[in-house]
């Protein structure tokens, strides 16, 4: 663990503090203050992201520091979108997710900028990684809602909002096309860069595992939702676990050497 004294580092710490304070306000049912702090955290994270982009002179999604900074930035817009258009709650949990995702960027991963290798110089870099980042945050939100569904007796959730089971489904439904798009764009990019749209790389296989779990979830829910609602929620949590493995374990562990090594 190291304390970063750079501009990006300071902004990340401010964003983390704002997210934590926002979550506290939400738990104290002070929604207006909570949203103000949540927006403040987003602004700090967004400024850090833009600053990083200008500093490195390429899309800042190359290494784990930049990826987690991006994840911490997009949590508020996605949370607000789900609340406003899907009537899906859980904003307090979203603020905590934002805090958690910024933690590795603030204290763990090296912020040293890297030059883009030839393999990453592609128009598909931004859409491929961005699709995945947005879908990952939506699935994380869905996983938290799924846990609430499995552990709570009250299915209705907050007033004016949909039940936890429906909220989980709607959030997964929102994120799954982006998960699919990320997988497809990765295959297309692999074809253009390496000659094969599928290399049986550990990262690709774990991405496929994540995708298949959610495919399983949709089919299972279609057939057995009323009989086993908690099983569906457990599948969402399992899908999120596979995403965490795809994002972290595959990139950082030496158990899985492969062609995506530049993401470390």
């Amino acid at each position: 663990m190291e304390i970063k004294t750079s501009i990006e580092g300071v902004l990340i710490y401010l964003a983390m503090a704002a997210y934590l304070a926002a979550a506290t306000m939400f738990f104290m049912r002070r929604k207006r203050d909570g949203f103000t702090l949540f927006i403040g955290g987003f602004v700090f994270a967004a400024v850090a992201f833009v600053y990083r982009w200008i500093n490195v002179d390429h899309i800042p999604l190359q290494n784990m520091f930049e990826v987690f900074l991006c994840l911490g930035m997009i949590v508020f817009p996605l949370s607000y979108f789900c609340l406003r258009f899907l009537r899906v709650g859980g904003v307090a949990a979203d603020a905590i997710i934002g805090f958690i995702t910024l933690f590795p960027a603030g204290f763990v991963f090296d912020e040293e900028p890297q030059l883009l290798p030839p393999a990453l110089q592609s128009h598909l870099f931004l859409p491929h990684v961005a699709s995945y980042m947005i879908s990952y945050m939506l699935m994380a939100k869905a996983a938290v809602l799924a846990v609430r569904q499995m552990t709570s007796r009250d299915e209705c959730g907050e007033a004016g909002l949909v039940s936890y089971e429906t909220a989980t489904y709607k959030t997964v439904r929102l994120g799954f096309p982006l998960l699919t798009l990320g997988l497809v764009l990765g295959a297309v990019w692999g074809k253009i860069a390496w000659g094969d749209y599928w290399n049986w790389d550990p990262k690709e296989l774990w991405s496929l595992v994540s995708w298949l779990i959610f495919v399983f979830y949709f089919h299972f829910r279609f057939q057995y939702r009323r009989l086993f609602p908690r099983v569906g929620s457990a599948l969402v949590v399992a899908g999120m676990a596979a995403i965490v493995i795809t994002l972290l374990w595959v990139n950082l562990s030496r158990i899985f050497p492969g062609m995506h090594s530049y993401a470390t």
Binding site: L115, P177, W189, A193, W200, W206, L208, V209
Partner: protein
């Protein structure tokens, strides 16, 4: 029908679980093992079963056909799997045997600058086919971040007995300035530096094996694998078996480590008239190697550098004349002449003052080295400029880059590798396009169907409901 649908859904779920579990297993097995697993006969049957299941699903569930989104997301994987099977090695074999369509599934082409090739090799370098057209490599270029490479002067410490740990210290130098060298009791002065030069003597380094027989007869033999020398009785012949640029004993095996150049050596075999054979290692450092020495032969491995260098703007490779003064006042002058953009020039500085033995357990001499070494600049892009000829078309000139393949004649050509020493050849990966159109069509169908079903249709319904409830409020 209800029972059939239930079986269909259950089977789909089971196959999904199976493929998920196998994917997890494959991730732990590694790329090559996973590739073998998923292309094996049993898994091929699973893929075919999965594809058929999707087709049957489209028939049994009428609702899948009536909804554009549902049809697309289920037809998409069918197209993808069909295209993948058509593009596989077995798919190519079937296409050739059933339809007479000959195509190389994949391979590699090594093409030297200025030369043409239509030969495709596998990973081991074996020829697997020839294209109906040829590719000519007009130029190969590497673009670095921050401009061209620069070079530095370093002294490298002897290898430690703890392992292959190496200490290297960069030397601050300027022409005419005398500096103390680390690790040894010597000083160095750079007499002359040429940023772009070539050896003044043709051929650059000369590597020869000096053979002195019991009678005193002396011969110099080029150190090339396969070179034979007839010897006087009772010996018959000496054969150069292998030339090492850097010999190292690793886990009990003798290996040649490319790019290091500190420990040149030659492995020779000596055959007697009675048929007996022996082997010996001869080191350029002069250290005694393994192998019997009671056969009356004295062998020395001489690596002679060019006597001097002269400016040549074409090479882009530097040269440096140095003077090394020992503690006892002896002075040695040498030229360090770079021969490759990726390999350092190595000059032995002699044994360490406090070395306990002449050679360590890895076969490395206990000595320090002076290196003129290229700084590791980061590559921005690799570009092969190729011209496609033949096949009854106008010659086509294209740049092949990473993320910028060449598409021609039903094949894609990708920038795969290159001559890392002298940048004189490129290696292009060759891939057949068989099945690719189906795969891409499947991707499009899957994504469009997914966005329609999950985003666009719910949004239309949502806004229609809002509008309807708004109209009701007005009434």
């Amino acid at each position: 029908m209800r029972f059939l649908r239930r079986i269909l859904v259950l089977t789909t779920l089971e196959l999904t679980v199976l493929i998920t579990v196998l994917s997890i297993v494959g991730a732990f097995l590694g790329v090559e093992s996973a590739r073998s697993l998923f292309n094996s006969i049993p898994l091929a049957l699973v893929w075919i079963a999965f594809t058929l299941l999707l087709v049957v699903g489209l028939v049994v569930y009428r609702s899948l056909n009536m909804s554009v989104g549902l049809l697309a997301i289920h037809a998409g994987p069918i197209l993808i799997l069909t295209g993948a099977m058509a593009g596989s090695v077995r798919g190519h074999e079937v296409a050739e045997s059933r339809f007479g369509r000959e195509r190389i599934p994949s391979g590699y082409m090594q093409i030297f600058e200025g030369e043409a090739s239509r030969t495709v090799h596998d990973e081991e370098g074996r020829e697997i086919g020839r294209l109906p057209f040829e590719l000519v490599l007009e130029d190969f270029d590497i673009d670095y971040y921050g401009g061209d490479q620069s070079w530095s002067l370093e002294v490298e410490a002897p290898f430690s007995d703890r392992g292959e740990e190496v200490r290297a210290v960069e030397i601050e130098w300027s022409e005419g300035m005398e500096v103390e060298l680390p690790f040894v009791r010597s000083t160095l002065k750079v007499l002359r530096y040429l940023p772009s030069a070539r050896p003044a003597r043709e051929g650059g380094d000369a590597r020869v094996l000096e053979v002195v027989e019991a009678s005193g007869a002396r011969r110099l033999v080029p150190a090339e694998a396969g070179r034979e020398v007839r010897l006087e009785a009772p010996l018959a012949k000496l054969t150069v078996e292998q030339v090492f640029s850097h010999l190292l004993v690793r886990d009990g095996e003798v290996v040649d480590v490319e790019g290091m150049g500190r420990n040149p050596a030659v492995k020779v075999s000596i055959e007697g008239e009675d048929g007996t054979r022996s082997q010996r290692y001869v080191f350029a450092s002069g250290m005694m190697g393994h192998g019997q020495e009671d056969d009356g032969l004295a062998l020395r491995y001489l690596v002679r550098s060019a006597a001097s260098a002269e400016p040549d703007p074409a090479t882009g490779l530097p040269a440096m004349e140095v003077s090394i003064r020992e503690e006892d006042g002896r002075e040695t002058r040498r030229w360090l002449i770079a021969q490759s953009r990726s390999r350092p020039v190595v000059l032995p500085l002699g044994p360490l003052p406090d070395a306990a033995s002449a050679m360590d357990r890895r076969g490395m001499p206990h000595g320090a080295f002076l290196l003129l070494t290229p700084r590791r600049a980061t590559v921005r892009q690799f570009t092969s400029t190729v011209e496609v000829r033949g096949n009854g078309v106008e010659p086509l000139r294209r740049d092949v880059r990473v993320n910028g393949p060449l598409h021609f004649g039903g094949y894609h050509f990708y920038q795969h590798s290159y001559d890392s020493q002298n940048e004189r050849y490129t290696v292009l990966a060759v891939k057949s396009d068989a099945g690719l159109a189906f795969v891409y069509a499947g991707f499009v169908a899957l994504c469009c169907g997914m966005f329609w079903l999950c985003w666009i249709r719910p949004a239309i319904r949502h806004f229609s409901k809002e509008r309807a409830s708004g109209n009701q409020d007005e009434h």
